[in-house]
């Protein structure tokens, strides 16, 4: 199995990676969206996945989350196999994510959205909740505190009581990050967090991503905004037509002729 993994510089690969994806294949009808993708993410890094539209980035995320069922391959997260697990069990392993197209709960306030993010950190039975036992009351207070903590990290605390649907777009995206963080994940998947943000918001996002990484959460980032990706990532994976084109540090990737060809060469050929 290890033979299929692209060789990585020894310095950046600790003994066991947090996430190890091996030979992942996913096809839709006749189209191979993922054609044997392998990579490893070490704990504590910001790891970006880039590639042209349709390269399979979001498909990869959806496969990691159990939303798709890949036809073959393996996804090991902290030595556990995730392939075949339902989404809510994968979340319970310590993975949280945001969505490219917003998936906020528009029928709830910002605070409630983030409290749902804490779902896995406590358990309330139906009966206890309906009778609102003292235990449930204490739990509610704790959930509220955790949610506010996540909101403060994302500088959203003053929006807590607002309905999620009334926020400006940039803040909605940030609520998604707060909601994902509230789960206290070990791995956070960010699917195009900068899409639709203006320059100021993108800068703030860059700070936020760094803060999250520094708090010990590993980040897997799909993003098109190259300055952000190159500035914030420790390592990058380049996908093209569902396969790994290159893997390395931002400097290595920028110097890689295959990457340059995939991003620019294709366009040049069309122009000719």
């Amino acid at each position: 199995m290890t033979a299929m993994i692209a060789p990585l510089p020894l310095s950046s690969t600790p003994a066991s990676p947090l996430l190890a994806v091996t030979g992942l294949e996913q096809s839709f009808g006749g189209v191979m969206a993922l054609a044997g993708v392998s990579f490893q993410v070490a704990e504590g890094l910001v790891y970006a996945v880039i590639g042209p539209n349709g390269a399979g980035k979001t498909t990869l995320f959806n496969a990691l989350c159990g939303f798709y069922q890949p036809s073959s391959g393996s996804i090991r997260f902290t030595e556990r196999e995730l392939l075949g697990l339902p989404t809510h069990r994968i979340a319970a392993c310590g993975i949280a994510r945001t969505f490219q197209n917003l998936q906020l709960f528009f029928n709830m306030t910002v605070l409630e959205n983030v409290m749902v993010g804490c779902h896995l950190r406590t358990k309330t039975s139906l009966f206890a909740a309906a009778l609102r036992l003292p235990r449930v009351r204490r739990q509610e207070q704790r959930l509220r505190d955790w949610a506010i903590e996540a909101l403060e990290l994302c500088e959203l605390a003053d929006r807590a009581t607002q309905s999620a649907g009334t926020l400006p777009y940039g803040l909605m995206k940030r609520v998604e990050i707060a909601r994902a963080l509230a789960a206290k994940p070990r791995l956070l998947l960010l699917d195009e967090p900068a899409a639709g943000l203006n320059d100021t918001e993108t800068l703030a996002l860059r700070d936020l991503i760094t803060r999250i990484r520094d708090s010990g959460v590993t980040i897997l980032l799909v993003e098109h905004h190259m300055p952000l990706v190159m500035g914030v990532s420790d390592r990058l994976l380049v996908l093209d037509y569902g396969s790994v084109l290159a893997e390395g540090t931002p400097a290595e990737i920028q110097a890689d002729p295959r990457v340059v060809a995939a991003y620019l060469g294709g366009a040049v050929n069309y122009a000719v």
């Binding site: 989350c65 939303f67 339902p86 989404t87 809510h88 979340a91 319970a92 949280a96 994510r97 969505f99 998936q103 906020l104 709960f105 528009f106 029928n107 709830m108 409630e112 409290m115 749902v116 993010g117 779902h119 896995l120 406590t122 309330t124 139906l126 909740a129 309906a130 009778l131 609102r132 449930v136 739990q139 509610e140 959930l143 909601r179 789960a183």
Partner: protein, 322 residues
């Protein structure tokens, strides 16, 4: 305060028979409205909060009623035990059917629950040796609460009002808890809910079971209060009326469901005087509410009151300027 609305509602319910003693409208129509509130509040957990439709909820209403009727007339069970048995039966049946039914979405779910309601109604009509068939079952003993025999309109008003307040209280607690937020999350975005670790199938099942148990509770009280049940009280029209109450009052609001249930009950009673035109006016009013208050009566009326308040404040301000 979280339960402020509940205390006001409870006070109004308790004061009505004191302010209007021996009033037919309060004790008889009020009792019927109370049962409708229990049904609508339960169904609202499923439709309004979890976002799943049920067009067959009269089945669970009927199940509770027939469980009480059959167990207390044919097997001489104490009424309270029959009631509890009805609740458990409804919960179990809902639990068994929830998984296969709630896998469906939208129109398909509507069709499946519709079918469920029709089958339940057919059983009530056809299983004559148990249910008495189309003629129904008579002679159901009154409710006996640990030695206290519920007797007379006023006592029934008290019992059903207490049951209704209990259900409203449980529902308010549930919605504002981790369980309730999980329900609303399933409605908001099922994918995101799963990604937060919510077992969506389990959550929908919980909502279905709770709403079924509430409906059976109302059914059992109904059977003991009326002393008679027949399949006509649990047909498709009743299922549709229950959905109408939830939508009319305003989805995803417990007090919306309360409003819808009371409004529809009063409307049906009030329009009796129009005889042949009853259904016509009934339909026209429902359409008007949905067109002008798409968020339902509760939100619509609170907003209207709010607007009225600010208009009055503005005109007062203008007058003070003159």
């Amino acid at each position: 305060m979280r339960l402020a609305g509940f205390y006001i509602f409870a006070a109004v319910v308790a004061l009505l028979p004191v302010l209007f003693p021996d009033n037919y409208f309060v004790v008889v129509v009020g009792t019927s409205a109370g049962l409708h509130v229990i049904l609508a509040v339960g169904l609202n957990l499923l439709i309004g909060y979890a976002g799943q439709i049920s067009l067959g909820h009269a089945a669970f209403f009927g199940l509770g009623a027939y469980a009480s009727a059959i167990l207390s007339t044919r097997f001489d069970w104490p009424s309270l035990l029959a009631l509890v048995a009805g609740l458990i039966a409804a919960g179990l049946i809902a639990w068994v059917f929830a998984r296969p039914i709630l896998r469906l979405r939208g129109h398909y779910l509507a069709m499946a629950t519709l079918g469920f309601g029709i089958i339940a109604h057919v059983i009530m009509v056809q299983a004559t040796q148990w249910t008495g068939g189309p003629d129904g079952l008579a002679g159901i003993p009154p409710l006996n609460l640990l030695g206290w025999q519920v007797d007379g309109d006023l006592q029934w008003y008290g019992v059903i009002a207490a049951a209704m307040l209990l259900v409203v209280w449980l529902s308010l607690n549930l919605v504002d808890s981790q369980v309730g937020r999980a329900l609303r999350a399933v409605h908001g975005s099922e994918f995101a809910a799963r990604m937060m670790g919510i077992d969506t199938a389990r959550t929908k099942t919980q909502a279905f079971v709770v709403s079924a148990v509430f409906a059976a509770f109302a059914g059992s009280l109904f059977a003991h209060q009326q002393a008679f049940v027949s399949p006509d009280s649990f047909n498709l029209t009743v299922s549709v009326e229950l959905v109408t109450m939830v939508v009319l009052g305003g989805l995803a609001s417990t007090f919306g469901a309360v409003c819808g249930a009371i409004a529809l009950t009063l409307l049906q009673q009030g329009l009796v005087v129009f005889e042949d035109y009853e259904m016509l006016i009934h339909g026209a009013l429902l359409m008007a509410v949905m067109i002008f208050m798409p968020q339902g009566l509760f939100v619509g009326l609170t907003q209207a009151a709010h607007r009225l308040g600010s208009t009055l404040a503005r005109s007062k301000f203008r007058r003070s300027l003159d």
